[in-house]
Symmetry: C2
Subunit: 621 residues, 2 copies
């Protein structure tokens, strides 16, 4: 850890700040947090991977304090959750001299080259180097290829089933080896078990058993598995595949999602071990057979290979902040159709490494109605970890917008709008308390915010039951600007955590959705539209009823409607569609049109990106 020297005002551009400091070697960062040399794999000069062996070595060591950073419902500008996570960590590490880890998600290159730019924090609270953080994201490449191997396997399997007899399929699926013997692979044994066939010698199967075994009989209209790419390619949202002459007319409508929307990414984020990941891969449901049986990646025979393709990615990547505190970058699932949280494995490793007196700061995407609710009910349920404190990041800008100011107006002083809009923050504070976790509100202050405005926010937060509410100025000052926040978090973590889930898994799907809708969103109830009633019945019949719920909805409102700002009431949420990510392990009701593939603007960020004569990267932000 090393405090920042020479802080400039006004704050230079993010890339100028990022490139102004000399990196510590990753080995030095690792040593500073107690990672042994044999537990560190270097990947270039500015990133390392931590081997999972560290969990075995430290299994009897107590965990550190577990701090979630979440936020109010944001504006399209973003309200600085990542920047706050980094600033808070810099403060805990370099200013309070406690052990600390920041756990962040891998950024997709889609937004980096599209509209949003990078995701490494900002100002004097950044992960460095930003080039590595934003561009060197092998977890996403691994997810994409595992996802797409399964896609290729699905269409090709349908093709082979369509063009071959049972006998031909069986002969090819279980060919004789060099010694003339046939055998079933692990995936085949799983499929046979699912069919109630407990034979291990291919020669013993009856004609009927062979037919059941070789024909997955996928109904093309039910296939929900889509291909992915880590680029904002809107023209792949809806495509037709199989137009080539050799595919003999097997044409199908499907599409691509951005890679971070892949269920494989969720699996990476929610797995507790390699074994756990392998099991989840096998459970992925790609569609239904014509008889209505869910067909899995295990049935297809691809789950083992998918796991192998993602095996290296299970090791979180070690990086550093501007004040040389350690960061783990790992996974990066979408925050709507997925749970939008950084990985369980990174958090677990970090908690052991910081130890009893240390802190792990982990971030959840979107507002607390999505990110934090899913953190508690999905991620903590899968990990068994208990959070000690929740930090809600708020900005005066966004709260003014919630109080009726337009996006342009809300940069100006407007105490009236702020007083109306602060109810958004109040509701989030109340929500966090339902999980039994102390809440600290971090007001991410902009230099234009007046003292009066700040007081409105801090007072409202405290009245709503926040353990504390403080101004944080980490963007301009780094860890130094977040010392008050860090001290509040420290005190909050000394409170007894009464952490509890909002719902039990064994309740029916609709009951669970209803609890989230009423308790978290403040809705009057839930309407099930289209064929969602039938789908829920089908999921419960197929044994998916006991999964947690991951609501896919807008981040801009507590409700399903981005325009319902503040603390809306008197609304019902419409479940337009519902889907299941069985491998990831949740059911996701969809409350409106959710884009799983962003587009590019007329002037995308890539226009600025280039290399200079010396090979330096230009134009990232």
């Amino acid at each position: 850890m090393k405090k920042l020297a020479n802080i400039k005002s006004p704050v230079p551009s993010d890339i100028d700040v990022s490139q102004s400091l000399k990196l510590w070697s990753i080995r030095r960062i690792a040593q500073s947090i107690g990672i042994q040399d044999n537990e560190l794999e270097l990947h270039g000069d500015s990133r390392g991977r931590i081997k999972l062996d560290v969990l075995e070595r430290l299994k009897n060591k107590p965990n550190g304090k577990y701090v979630l950073v979440t936020g109010i419902n944001p504006t399209p500008f973003g309200e600085g959750k990542t920047t706050t996570s980094v600033g808070l960590s810099q403060s805990i590490g370099a200013h309070l001299n406690k052990k600390v880890f920041t756990c962040l998600r891998c950024p997709s290159r889609g937004p980096t080259f599209g509209i949003k730019g990078g995701a490494a924090g900002g100002g004097y609270s950044q992960v460095i180097p930003m080039e590595t953080f934003n561009l060197d994201v092998p977890d996403i490449d691994a997810v994409a290829i595992a996802n797409n191997l399964l896609s290729a396997a699905i269409d090709t399997r349908m093709f082979h089933e369509r063009t071959q007899t049972n006998k031909g399929l069986f002969k090819r699926l279980c060919p004789a080896d060099k010694k003339g013997e046939r055998f079933f692979t692990k995936a085949m044994i799983s499929r046979l078990t699912k069919l109630g066939i407990y034979k291990t010698n291919p020669n013993d199967l009856t004609k009927e058993e062979i037919a059941d075994f070789v024909r997955l009989d996928l109904d093309p209209d039910t296939i929900s598995w889509r291909r992915v790419v880590d680029v904002n390619d809107r023209f792949l949202r809806g495509i037709t595949v199989g137009n080539g002459p050799k595919e003999r007319g097997q044409i199908r409508s499907t599409g691509f999602d951005i890679a971070v929307a892949s269920e494989c990414m969720v699996i990476l984020a929610l797995s507790n071990s390699l074994h756990d990941m392998r099991e989840r891969m096998g459970k992925i449901v790609v569609g239904m057979s014509k008889k209505g049986v869910p067909i899995t990646a295990e049935d297809i025979g691809a789950a083992g290979a998918m796991t192998v393709l993602m095996k290296e990615s299970l090791k979180p990547s070690l990086m550093q902040t501007l004040e040389r505190t350690p960061v783990l970058v790992h996974a990066g699932p979408f925050a709507n159709i997925a749970h939008g949280n950084s990985s369980i494995i990174a958090d677990k490793i970090a908690l052991k490494l910081v130890g009893e007196d240390g802190y792990v700061v982990t971030e959840a995407g979107f507002g607390a109605d999505c990110g934090a609710e899913k953190f508690f009910n999905i991620k903590c349920r899968s990990s068994g970890l208990v959070p000690n404190c929740s930090v809600i990041v708020a900005t005066a800008r966004a709260l003014k917008h919630h109080g009726g100011a337009s996006l342009k107006e809300c940069k100006e002083t407007n105490v009236g709008a702020l007083k109306r809009g602060v109810v958004n923050l109040v509701k989030h504070v109340e929500n966090m308390k339902k999980f039994g976790v102390p809440v600290v509100v971090a007001l991410n202050r902009f230099h234009t915010d007046t003292d009066e405005e700040c007081d409105v926010i801090l007072n409202a937060a405290k009245r709503a039951g926040a353990f504390d509410a403080v101004i944080s100025d980490h963007f301009s000052k780094g860890g130094l600007g977040a010392v008050n926040l860090a001290k509040s978090v420290e005190r909050a973590c000394k409170q007894k955590s009464n952490f509890k889930f909002l719902y039990d898994l064994d309740q029916p799907i609709k009951k669970k959705i209803g609890i989230i809708a009423r308790e978290i969103y403040g809705a009057d109830g839930v309407d099930y539209l289209n064929n969602t009633n039938e789908k829920i019945e089908e999921y419960e019949k197929n044994g998916f009823g006991n999964l947690p719920i991951c609501v896919a909805k807008t981040q801009y409102s507590f409700s399903h409607d981005a325009k319902l700002l503040g603390r809306p009431s008197g609304f019902r949420i419409p479940v337009q569609d519902i889907r299941a990510s069985v491998g990831a392990g949740f059911v996701f009701p969809i409350l409106g049109a959710i884009s799983t593939m962003p587009g590019l603007p007329t002037r995308p960020a890539y226009y600025n990106v280039d290399v200079d004569e010396k090979g330096n990267i230009l134009g990232l932000f």
Copy 2:
């Protein structure tokens, strides 16, 4: 370097051999060949990247000997070029105690999980660990995302041009910055220069100039740039994009290629520096404007970002053989529509590192009619390097097939078929001599080959003018089995190289194609079918006439027809289509249906791939 101990007979499976040895640390490998610590970037425990700085440090050092490994026209089994490259290197390094480097291509995961399996060599001549070699191939991921960023940019640009006025486009392409000023990016200046507009202030453009500047006016029917994925996904060969409702009916037929078929991969392989790569990226032609002007990646504004996405991949990856000689794995372009050679940068680094008394063994794909011809005429032309020796790998099996034995029969002794088929080897030897490079024939011996069969091959090769022809048994014995081959190569490299290109670049396209057809393939002439005459005229008009030629054809025959085995004569080659990879820097005539996207068999290799309880990878081969 370390000789193998405990060689077993029969040879265990590739993965068992690969996993039976303890790796040397990559740092130790690097040190053994003179790479300094600050020139090495570790990437995990078994791979490192070499920084291009090493070229600057060693720029005044003489190059080592440059040895190309190529082959006869193979059977579908493959005849062991990679295994021979590795075995020869193990022998030079661990048995002759000379400095040596092996330069290989990155393997695509398509074939690894499809039919072919891995590509790390075999038996006792392998690159280890094979898991890393076959699965950890970030160069391909970088190529794929750079390629696909351009694809997304093309369709989205057409969309924005279709839906916006000139004024709207210009306002968005050159928005005012925070200070209210507008500026052109580097890519925009390039486009303006192409249009003959030499203004640097956006405010100075006339209405007409704005129209020319903002409208690329791509003709959708001319777009040749396809998307890529590193999976054998045949259902992506022909697709329709833009079916989503928000794309407003902008539908187009296109398709995906396997990632290694991307022009970005060729650029990676043929670039001499980062600057060179940036220039080539900008020159990529994606299609034609409606007025017939080639539209480039520079026009689209994506070439800088594509370069940034591939910047790290420009550093070759260091690995090791079973006898701990150093290997560079880098790039991996397709061997038909591209030139199928490992990278220039890897070869250059290796040649400097081994120095005057050392050897660099580099491999070219397909038979010598494709791989070696393109190595000499395309790769050596781009690099300026001069080869010292060419090794042609031959097997009795393949030569029997060339003599009329079926693929099944050719495993059995058949001197008659061999005597007929050996003409294939003879023609390849004669061809190599046309380039003025001494040829050593390496008979990759199988244990079933009789002495008589071996003699037929060796004698024919010598009579044809090979500098030497020797039996090599590196599969069963590692470097020890290739000592005779290594000694022959050593002697051949002491010969004076009279290297020359087969054609001059300033000859017309048809003249160059004709020279290759007659001299290398033994054809009587060339027929230009479909609209290839017009396309050639157009290319020459657009200034692409002085590029070298990269013929896309079958690897199984000297001709365009896979069934014309041996040394065919009395045939003419049909140019069915012709295309230009202007960024890569060649024109490629297509002699028949060339698949740029392989399929998966009914029982793909992925079925066997899994992890065991301890996390080891199973089922790779």
